[in-house]
């Protein structure tokens, strides 16, 4: 437990020392979602309809931006190798890095999403569902993404390859996350979608650190 907290603390500290990188991903999210009304037109009914999808896709892409950073620097300077050799289980340290990544890249999106949702004219109920969905969904993105980040460590064309690997795996999260808001808008209630999203989170939390650990050990061989 102490090791977990230490890893989270360390990664957060590193992120805070380089605030620009974190803010870049955040502003990317704001800008991308703001471009859609400009491209499609300011009609409120249409914007309300596309809002869940646009905000979720924006969140997906913004999370992608930070994924490579999760292990790349530690891999380059050998820290990751020391972590793999340490007496603490590597899966635990990986989980710590996932939590830190989510706190830095996921949580700000959750906080920001309701404000951006207002831009699209979402009502209060839908905003609440959107925020709750992102709160459950963005950890899934960090967890699944960490597998891709570990697989592409030190590989040619890592960034583009990473999105090719990870984005297809994000599809279920996107469907249920955006589907929750749509279900709320159409009066069906979002609890079903949110439950499925929570199921995805449980599944990812159980399997992803293990897969990431395997991938890291392969990369370190």
């Amino acid at each position: 437990m102490k090791a977990l907290l230490a890893v989270i603390h360390r990664d957060l500290l590193i992120a805070m020392r380089r605030k620009a990188e974190v803010l870049t991903a955040l502003f990317f999210f704001v800008i991308v979602t703001s471009l859609f009304p400009l491209g499609i037109g300011p009609e409120p009914a249409l914007l309300r309809k596309i809002a869940p999808g646009v905000l979720w896709v924006g969140a997906l892409l913004a999370t992608m931006l930070g994924l490579q950073r999760m292990f790349a620097a530690d891999y380059a300077d050998g820290t990751l190798e020391q972590m793999a050799l340490s007496p603490q289980p590597l899966a635990l340290l990986v989980a710590g890095k996932n939590v830190a990544h989510w706190l830095v890249c996921g949580l700000p999106l959750v906080v920001l999403a309701p404000v951006l949702g207002l831009q699209f004219g979402l009502d209060g109920q839908s905003l609440a569902v959107l925020t709750l969905g992102l709160l459950i969904g963005t950890p899934v993105l960090s967890l699944v993404g960490s597998v891709g980040a570990a697989l592409t460590l030190g590989v040619r064309g890592g960034g583009a390859l990473l999105s090719l690997l990870v984005l297809p795996l994000y599809v279920p999260t996107l469907i249920f996350g955006a589907g929750a808001v749509e279900a709320q808008q159409s009066g069906m209630g979002a609890s079903g979608h949110l439950s499925l999203l929570a199921a995805l989170l449980a599944l990812a939390a159980f399997f992803a650190p293990w897969a990431t650990t395997t991938a890291i050990r392969i990369a370190l061989e």
Binding site: L151, T152, L161, L167, L169, I218, E221
Partner: protein, 249 residues
Amino acid sequence: MKPLDFHWFRFASPATFYPLAGRMIPLFWLLAAVFGVAGLWVSFFVAPTDATQGEGYRIIFVHVPASWMSMFIYIMMATWAGIGLAFNTRLAGMMAQALAPTGALMALLSLWTGALWGKPMWGTWWVWDARLTSELVLLFLYLGFIALQAAIDEPRRADKAGAVLALVGVVNVPIIYFSVKWWNTLHQGASVSLTRAPAMAQAMLWGMLLMALCFWMYSIAMALTRVRAIILEREATHDWTHGLEEVMA
């Protein structure tokens, strides 16, 4: 047959598997041709014209087997990947690598024939239905697997990294299959079911099964041919490859 000489891992070595694969390939090509001719004959001359869809429905005899194979090959690929990770055998990784292009081809065929079928029946090439979309995602998963293996120079690391990706992606295959039940959309439900009586004529079912067998045999023949090429490429520095006829020629 001396059972005591046989060992389960005998053919896990590329050097022993290579000639075995060479002997099996013609057999699977023959089976593919037999099933293909029979399947095409049933699907064009025996299967009756569909009451609602006319003659156009006959694309089902390519579409459904291709969709089945695209999913089945992914599961096989993940199985080989799992075997490779568990037993650390070189051949398992090569098999996974050899299966991927055929699987991607099947996914593409399934999408392509689906579009050709959808245009006359639904009046559109593409709908964002869950099943079509998951087939598309499956194609992306295949492409990601191929791209990851191509990006890593060291073959053993490529095998293992690909294996992890295949095992992670295999979670997607059941989602594809059950998506029909989860979302109720334009796409017709599964046409073949084990629990209730099939909704189609017997002859149509036979045509589809024969074509599926043809595709299956074709996939095996292709994968074996490809795995032989991969073996030769990777084992080029080993002595046993140097005496081979095809290498000498």
